[in-house]
């Protein structure tokens, strides 16, 4: 309650919490775009989503070590992760596409613990950061601070969203992806190479995750076990926002980031995660009752 009072006493704190939350949400949004894409097109829930973020973070870290400016590090990490995603598809994922959704959850869970320990062995368990060298902006006479790198993540989330929409609408591959999402068999009959479409989709997902990982490395820290929170939040966002709507994914992600930050402030950091997962369950149950009511109206 003390914390709530604090919030009412100085409303500028809410601004700070809101800004931080929204900017954190932007990074979730990236991971969620990828998940929505893969889920929608390939019918696959990728539990290793967070591990792709983690690998992207390491890519950015090593690029930073090689004295490449972090701003170039983001697209380079994305490109590297695209190749990785493609490879992963050709090696493993192609076997679980078009199978039971549940199979995909378990198989990618296996992949995720595999990638975790591989990263632990290859990169070491140390906590790494890529110094972006960006400064901090002051608002309201210094009462609110915004790290520039967080603004960059926000911009990156917007740009990626726009790019994704345009890519899916205009490009040849984007059209093929949409066709496959609607009906894979029909697309195949029409001459679309669905295997190639799937590989592209998964590569694209890995690339987006890679970009978000690069941003994580520049905003916070990277270590082999950071994946799970991103996976779970991406899940939540996609469930709430639905599969086919990039704008809704972005809005939900930003909202979730803000809600989480406020929860951490009000209930204390120890209940932040409990709040998020409780919220997830509540949303699911609410959605179910809501759907049931809809059904009743239809009758």
């Amino acid at each position: 309650m003390e914390n709530l009072r604090l919030l009412f006493d100085s409303p500028v704190l809410s601004v700070q919490l809101l800004i931080d939350g929204v900017l954190i949400g932007a990074i979730f949004a990236l991971a969620a775009y990828g998940m929505a894409l893969v889920w929608g097109v390939m019918g696959l829930i990728n539990v290793a989503q967070g591990e792709l973020v983690m690998l992207g973070g390491y890519a950015a870290f090593y690029l930073y070590r090689a004295r490449i400016h972090p701003l170039f590090g983001i697209p380079l990490a994305a490109a590297a992760m695209f190749c990785f995603g493609w490879l992963l598809y050709r090696l493993v994922i192609f076997r679980i596409v078009e199978k039971d959704l549940f199979i995909s959850i378990l198989a990618t869970f296996g992949l995720s613990i595999l990638l975790q320990q591989l990263a632990n062995t290859l990169f070491g368990a140390d906590v790494r950061t890529a110094e972006s060298g960006f400064g901090t902006l002051f608002l309201f006479g210094g009462a609110v601070t915004v790290a520039e790198i967080k603004l960059i993540s926000f911009a990156a989330a917007l740009v990626t969203g726009v790019f994704l929409i345009q890519f899916l609408r205009r490009s040849r591959m984007g059209q093929a992806i949409r066709a496959t999402a609607q009906n894979a068999r029909a697309a195949r009959v029409m001459g679309v190479d669905t295997q190639r479409v799937y590989a592209w989709t998964f590569g694209l997902n890995a690339a987006i995750c890679g970009a978000s990982g690069a941003l994580v490395a520049m905003t916070w820290v990277v270590h082999p076990y950071l994946g799970l929170p991103y996976t779970v939040r991406a899940f939540m966002i996609v469930i709430v926002a639905g599969l086919g709507n990039v704008t809704a994914v972005l809005a939900t992600a930003l909202g979730l980031g803000a809600a989480e930050n406020f929860a951490g402030f009000i209930f204390g950091a120890e209940y932040q995660a409990a709040f998020v997962f409780g919220l997830l369950v509540a949303i699911l149950v609410w959605r179910r009752f809501w759907l049931a009511r809809e059904r009743r109206y239809l009758q």
Partner: protein
């Protein structure tokens, strides 16, 4: 039939004398029985009813914590404390299942899977923030009073008894109307509902039965390990919670003996990896999981059934 009865009898005798044959492996074997209970109770929902839960570990954790609290605050002697605690843990787990059931079991498909995952994680986080149960520091159940080695033997038989009760109870349930209703729900829930079955009631009952055995095993495991951590022992969603599913799938979900077989194979393999592939064990385990679900999505028993249908009592058309 005679052969099968003989095999069962042999298994029973072996299980009873095992602690004297392999005294060093008692704790491992006790955990193996717990794994069997995990896989069996998961399969009650996941396999028989088609509700793939990732959060059954919730009941395990509730049982473990309630048992430890009763033991700590009840000032009983060790054995009465343990049994009262386990009983209270099981009751609490069933109560949680009954309360949550109507809301959560209304979710379908992967929404149910993810909703239960959220429940499991949220429970761990709540326990980790609550000072009454030691918050992130965890709890330590009372020390076993007996002689050296007595503890292992005691918990071995306790876990054995738990598994030995779970199996026939589930077998009895599956053989009657209850099992048929669960299968009907799995095959087509809307149709089952349209036929006048009160599906929600059946689903909640099934969840409660599952919770009962998990609550009991929670109390036993808390005392067996001697240390309760909110996220890594009690509500260990990413280890126990996922292993339950894997073991049931590995053995063959929707069968009675499949989960048992899966638990044995999984537990033994995992222990071998952890012993001999130090530093790569999770890579190996991850690979194994991928191989299991990609190549044996129907499990060992399911695969065997496809291979040799006549051994499983399926008549092939045209066969005598």
């Amino acid at each position: 039939m005679k052969l099968r009865r003989g095999a069962v009898a042999a298994c029973v005798v072996l299980a009873l004398v095992a602690p004297y044959l392999f005294p060093n492996w008692r704790t491992q074997m006790a955990l193996l029985f717990i794994m069997i209970v995990f896989a069996l109770t998961w399969d009650l929902l996941g396999g028989q009813m088609g509700y793939n839960s990732f959060g059954n570990v919730l009941f395990f954790g509730v049982g473990m914590y309630v048992c430890a609290i009763v033991q700590r605050n009840g000032h009983f002697a060790y054995y009465p404390g343990l049994f009262l605690g386990s009983a209270a843990g099981a009751v609490a787990a069933v109560a949680v299942a009954a309360v949550l059931g109507s809301g959560i079991l209304g979710l379908r498909g992967h929404y149910f899977a993810i909703g239960t995952l959220g429940l499991g994680i949220a429970a761990g986080e709540l326990a980790g923030g609550w000072d009454f149960v030691g918050a992130g520091g965890g709890m330590v159940p009372p020390l076993f009073p007996g002689e050296l080695g007595g503890r292992e033997t005691f918990f071995y038989y306790l876990c054995l008894a738990l598994a030995a009760v779970t199996l026939p109870v589930l077998r009895w349930l599956y053989s009657g109307r209850f099992g048929l209703v669960l299968n009907a729900i799995r095959d087509d829930e809307d149709k089952a509902e349209a036929m006048g079955l009160r599906t929600t009631r059946y689903k909640t009952t099934a969840w409660c039965i599952s919770a009962f055995f998990l609550g009991l095993s929670g109390g036993a495991v808390g005392n067996l390990l001697g240390f309760i951590d909110p996220r890594e022992v009690a509500f260990a969603v990413d280890t126990f919670g996922v292993w339950m599913v894997l073991m049931a799938i590995l053995g063959g979900k929707g069968t009675l003996w499949g989960p048992v077989l899966g638990a044995v194979v999984f537990h033994v393999t995992k222990e071998l990896f952890w012993t001999y592939l130090l530093g790569w064990q999770r890579v190996a385990l991850g690979l194994l999981i991928v191989v299991i679900v990609v190549f044996f999505p129907v499990g060992i028993l399911g695969w065997a059934r496809e291979r040799w249908p006549e051994r499983f009592g399926h008549r092939i058309e045209g066969a005598p």
